[in-house]
Amino acid sequence: MGSIFRSEYMSLCQVFLQTDSAYACVAELGELGLAQFRDLNAEASTYQRKFVNEVRRCDEMERKLRYIEEEVTKNEIQVDDASFHIKAPQPKEMGELEANLEKIEDELLQINSNTKTLQRNYTQLMEMKAVLDKVKLLLDSDARAQAAMSISEASRGEAGPIQVGVAPKFVDFEKENRGDTELKFITGVIDLAKTSAFERFMWRMCRGKVYVRTMNVEIPPPLGSLDPATFKSVFILFFSGEALSGKVKKICAGFHAEIYNCPDNVVERAQLGTKVQMQVEDMKSVLGKTIDHRQRVLHAAGKNVKLWSYKVLKIKSIFHTLNMFSIDVTQKCLIAECWVPTVDLPQINDALRAGTAMSGATVMPVLNEMETHETPPTYFKLNKFTIGFQNIVDAYGIANYREVNPAPWTIITFPFIFACMFGDAGHGIVMLIAAGLFLVFEKRIIEAKVKDEIFNTFFGGRYVIFLMGLFSIYTGVLYNDFYSKSINIFGSQWLNPYTMAELNGTEVLGANSDQDLDFTFSPNEAFKHSEGPYPFGLDPVWNLAKNRLNFLNPMKMKMSICIGISQMFFGVVLSLLNHTYNRSAIDIFFVFIPQMLFLCCIFVYLCIQVIIKWIFFWAEPKMIFGQYYPGSNCAPSLLIGLINMFMMKSREVGFVKGNHAPADGIPKVEDQLDQCYLQLWYPGQGTAEMILLAIAVISIPVMLLVKPLVQLAQHKAGKPISGGHGHGGEGDGEFNFGDVMVYQAIHTIEFALGCISHTASYLRLWALSLAHAQLSEVLWDMLLHMGLTMMTGYGGAALMFVFFSIFAMLSVGILILMEGLSAFLHALRLHWVEFQSKFYGGTGIQFEPFAFMKLLRQSEGLED
């Protein structure tokens, strides 16, 4: 297995493939998934390529498959899943597949058109039935009389629509008052939505001489149809005269209204009714049979449709790849160019051999490695564990070819940095269990092919989350936070120095004076000095202390700074690995070393001070580094100290006047220097700081100027220019001093300012862990604590259920998911910006091999 420290060596290979065996060889390479083919016909458009007809045939098959799948899912028939691991079909199988799909599609089309015709007939019968049912109501004698009346009114011109631009016609009065027997009628069915427009139109067009009555009906959908019931309206039109009849029928046609002739006579109507009913029954049984047949065909298709579509996808992708090859002048072989990891060349050769054997060709394909100046793509051999972390790095930028990859360190630093902000053992356990479940059911989840994007994001990062959970438990124990409570495992190292009498007395005093009286644990008396500090993590006693935050904040702040500076220091060290790999002495001596000096002289020095202060300075007066230290009020202030170092402020030596211990051993306040915490606290501090500052200041112009000037000199002398651009390509093209200078200036400024701002940026470790701790404490105080104290007895137990459920939901929702996400993002930022900016280029090209697995996963929507 390759390492993920640097990307794999890649070779650009030229493969000569026999036309006969090319398909099989590419199929084998697709299964292997280790070759990235280059498009040698980039200037040709899609339809000018050699295998365009095969691609078209695949398109056609895909269309048929889509149609079949649509039909299958529409009828709610199970589509059987297929394995991704089917072999790519042989070219001759393509014809079979095509014929098969053609057959099924034809059959389905046939059945569908038959069913449709039958269904239409059925609907017509149903409509006819509806008309017959309703016509009785519509045709009562009253309606006829009304119609006659309305029509005669209209023909006299007393009623009817107002017409614009038409001279009113005066009809002869002899024909008025036609009897209702003269009226003819037409019945039919129209869409409910069109009814009102239809009525209006009829009225206007025929000038009120047609009398319309309508009635709403619901026509049930025919058997086997997936449409919902349609709402129609049965209409009856009364009118007289032949002239109108034609017009009315035309209007009906215009509105897609179906006319059903209905006899006037009641007996005839009844006969017709029974006839229609019989026809409906017949139609039902015929329809039922057709639909059964369709279901059978669809069931059969549903079993295979996924398998077929995978096959077609494979064929299509092979031909797409073949289209990228150039054709030899003799037309007998295809020439492919591909990037291949150098270590996998034997495997590629094996695949080619297998492909040749399978196609029965006699001539082996020839594989040549080619010399190239192109930048090869970046490829890491990953496994399911490392891929999550590599994704974190890749999201920022793909590593340059053979550049140091930050991913291996990210595996540990990422969860650790995350946990610094998420430090709570309880929440860490929940996270660990969640990720653990992912791991336990890993195989089953992968097989289930879940398509939900959010779920896949979490599932894809299951190993990251698992480690984040583990580290959170660790930091939680360090911070001694378990759902915001501390656990006293080893026994606190602090004692209560007060006697019972003193305590009782103070209580009475407190009750009388109506004040809160606090007890102070003086470290001199209350701390078990002989036994040393609490063995692991924070002493639980601090959970009770009022000045808990005053104690925790500086500690976490200093911890953040130390962690941050070590990570940045490590980043600069990694840049050395890149420089040595590029054999660039100029970068090592004039970039790396000044950077290192700058970082060490200011920031590493600060870290060392922090640690020394932790070790040596505490409440007891003693001699430290040969200077008398009178007590905690004189402990050196490092922040102001750092500022004073820059300002080169003159300070006194030591903490007390004369800088010697008092004769009686009891420190006196009047002996202490003014602002004793700001003075020099070790011998030679002034000189040492002066030197450090000088080195740091000098290293800036070295970083800025030397490299460009050396390169300029080399350029003038006509020698090859040493040293890369750091980031970006190796100085190809013209040497331009201006560009190099600007580039170097940007980098120097970025580094120098970056060291300061990035150090400050690491304070987010403290800020977020504080926020997390405070939030979980609020949740405890406001919910669980209240629930426990509100009521006693059974009521309290019941109440506890309610409070706990809210507590649990908020804990998971806010503290684990939201806070976790926020800590994750901050950890991401710290890695991308603060860590990787020290050494990582990230301008490489991703290796994208031709792999069936990936294509299939993409087509299933499992990957993008």
Partner: protein, 348 residues
């Protein structure tokens, strides 16, 4: 001030339309399309553009008709989405765009009926953006008055039709006059509507509509030579909201031949350029094509401004032009008439 609050109501749709506009075929797409040998090639290439798989589900060999239908379908889907999400006054504005298609459909149906064509065939030729409920019953009307009283009175076109109501039978001449009268009333109304909207919309749309009005006036004039249309009647058909109004229209009304039209238009800087280089000689572009090019230019320019409705109108017009182009290329390919395949109007 309108610009400040534009995005509250119309921001989403403006963003959407600009996205749609980004999908309009580019020069290089056209360069590829004209090289196609068959319609299958065209289908293959068009799949790599923003049209995507709109032809992928067509069984069998595709025809120009199918392409046309699918293109229209896609446009209608996009337009319907816009219309469904639009708030006032954008909704009305979008409705106005459809009126032009309604006019075309009415005229198409009436002319078809005069030529005794079956109604189903005519309906399939109608532009789906301009369909309305009573459309299919239109062929029953035999006089403009009937047309108005029965069909159009319920449509938004009713107001425009008032001028053409008479009891004469519909004939071809009549229909042309109806079309132009309707168009005139429509453009003037639309122009007024945009003017009332004010702001950038008015600025952009009035420019486009003024050109549209002038184009119609010029084309009506040129087409009316050697017909029985009298000069007075002709003058009544000119939309009066363009740059030619009033002096230019008077000149056009008096014109007797093409040269005179050209003389009138030479007074106007925008139109002078269009008449130059047109003519009957081979290699010259037709005046019509020049007009289309100018229209495309105006529409594309409307995208240089923000916070106005002109982009919606321009998108529909550009898309329409693109559809004409694709159909032109497809026709040339299917009829093996490649010499004229480059005569499409490029969209810049």
């Amino acid at each position: 001030m309108g610009e400040f609050f534009f995005n509250i109501d119309h921001g989403y749709l403006e963003a959407l339309i600009r996205g749609f506009k980004g999908g309009i075929l580019t020069q290089s797409d056209y360069a590829n399309l004209v090289q196609c040998e068959t319609l299958e090639d065209l289908k293959l290439h068009i799949q790599s553009t923003d049209y995507g798989n709109f032809l992928a589900n067509e069984p069998g060999a595709i025809t120009v008709g199918v392409i046309d239908e699918r293109l229209k379908e896609k446009l209608v889907t996009e337009f319907t989405h816009l219309r469904n999400n639009a708030l006032e006054p954008l909704a009305t504005f979008l409705d106005y765009i459809t009126y032009a298609y309604m006019i075309d459909n009415i005229v198409l149906l009436i002319t078809g009926t005069l030529h005794q064509r079956p109604i189903a065939e005519l309906i399939s030729k109608c532009h789906p953006l301009g369909s309305f409920e009573q459309m299919e019953a239109i062929h029953i009307a035999s006089t403009p008055a009937e047309l108005y009283n029965a069909v159009l009175v319920d449509t938004p076109l009713a107001n425009y039709f008032v001028d053409c109501i008479n009891e004469q039978d519909l004939d071809e001449m009549n229909v042309e006059i109806i079309r132009n009268t309707l168009y005139k009333a429509y453009i003037e109304d639309f122009y007024k509507f945009c003017e009332n909207l004010g702001g950038k919309t008015a600025e952009v749309m009035c420019e486009i509509l003024a050109f549209e009005a002038d184009r119609r006036a010029i084309i009506i004039t040129i087409n009316s030579f050697d017909t029985e249309l009298s000069k007075d009647d002709r003058e009544k058909l000119y939309p009066r909201c363009g740059k030619l109004y009033p002096e230019g229209l008077v000149g056009l009304a008096r014109a007797d031949d093409y040269e005179q039209v050209k003389q009138v238009c030479e007074w106007y800087g925008d139109y002078k350029a269009l008449f130059e280089g047109t003519g009957p000689n081979p290699g010259d572009k037709t005046l019509e094509d020049k007009f289309f090019e100018h229209e495309v230019k105006l529409n594309v320019h409307s995208y240089l401004h923000q916070f106005h409705f002109g982009v919606f109108y321009a998108f529909i017009k550009l898309k329409e032009q693109e559809m004409r182009n694709v159909i032109w290329i497809a026709e040339c390919i299917s009829q093996r008439h490649r010499s004229k395949i480059d005569n499409y109007i490029p969209i810049l």
